[in-house]
Symmetry: C2
């Protein structure tokens, strides 16, 4: 499993992914699930992946190779004229990769499936965030649904639903995401540190901030330990039930 969150704020995009992959509980590894393509000053694109690792690695490799062999197959990630065209490109490639492995044709429960979050901005239009399905179609985040999760989404959702605010600062968004990731890590062995964090500030067309949050990160530990206390205080602050 995996846990990735892409969040659209008024100030830009915040993306976070875990790095744990597993084939059974006795075969776990660490792999990067966040990939970025940049043309500084013109476009920045970040992809986060959940699902079959062979599929997602093939997807990223194909997307990346195409940017390095221009003309071979147009458009590529670096030349597509809009985020929508980028999403179509990623989605089509994802569908092709899965189809190449699915020996009985593509089904919704294919073991080769993967899901992708694509966020970024191309000069001339606002930042956009897409959730791309293994079937090759996709949806876009909007005002009503301003963040997407992929992978093991349920444990970390309630806090996002409650505390998200489109006007929040990048700092607050990272804090919120870390709480959401911590809730997930505590509940599900298939999600694990380190986490990859990326911030894309609106209208800058580059990565504003990027960091790997390691298992021994002091800030993460502080969040993780303080959150239990904070939740207990929050519980205490609620009115008591009386029989």
């Amino acid at each position: 499993m995996t846990y990735c969150v892409g969040m659209m704020l008024e100030a830009g995009l915040v993306m976070m992914s875990d790095t744990r992959t597993n084939a059974g509980v006795d075969n776990i590894s660490t792999f990067k699930k966040m990939f970025t393509w940049e043309v500084p000053g013109e476009r920045v694109l970040t992809v986060m992946t959940a699902g079959n690792l062979a599929t997602t690695q093939a997807l990223v490799s194909i997307l990346d190779e195409r940017t390095k062999a221009p003309g071979e197959r147009e458009p590529d990630l670096l030349t597509a004229p809009s985020m929508f065209q980028v999403a179509r490109l990623v989605a089509g490639t994802l569908k092709d990769v899965i189809a190449a492995n699915a020996n009985e044709g593509q089904r919704a429960d294919s073991t080769f499936n993967a899901t992708v979050l694509l966020g970024g901005q191309i000069k001339g239009s606002p930042p956009r965030l897409f959730l791309i399905y293994p079937e090759g179609n996709f949806i876009e985040a909007g005002k009503e649904t301003p963040f997407f999760q992929i992978g093991e989404t349920k444990y970390g959702k309630p806090i996002l639903v409650r505390a998200y605010d489109p006007e929040m600062s990048f700092e607050d968004a990272v804090k919120l995401m870390l709480v959401s990731f911590d809730s997930t890590v505590k509940a599900n062995l298939s999600v694990g540190l380190p986490f990859d964090l990326q911030v894309i500030e609106k209208d800058t067309y580059k990565i504003a901030y990027q960091r790997r949050i390691e298992a021994d990160d002091p800030y993460y530990h502080e969040i993780s330990t303080s959150w239990g206390e904070a939740l207990k205080s929050a519980m205490d602050s609620l009115p008591s039930f009386t029989f």
Copy 2:
């Protein structure tokens, strides 16, 4: 779907279940999922069910009929000598009901499956809490895992993990459960009000408190609305992330 929680405290047991059933999103109904058998002063048994409604209704009807036609098949819920024997009885009956409907033999993904929480106390031994699987086997709650959830368990788990305390009062346990249920209801349409609540006080061998929490319950509304604020305050109380 469904959401039920059974929680073992030092003071006794607290059980809560939702009442929504659905066959698709366009066919939702309200059904009780909590059932109790009592011999006041000697035993109290409560069953909560999740899964195929035909299966769980058949299970409860069979268990209930046997208590009314004694001698036909021994032991029944009211005569089994221990909670373990009650759990075996419920589990065996559950397995039989599923097998009678599963036309290709019983598989883990059978559409007729159901899962059961059984809690209660029989004079002479402490309160016990069991999670019974559709395969007819079961596990018992202990000090390390003092509560069980069935149904749509993930959204409401993080708060239980963080805030549960075996020494908490029944009142605090109900408050905690309502927060957990509220997180689930807010995230999943297949879980819905009203909720059934039951408290079994240790060594009393009867239901200490029972109530249906309706959708317009003022306390639930207060919890539901205050919890968002309390969470935001809890987030604010955490140290800020700095780039």
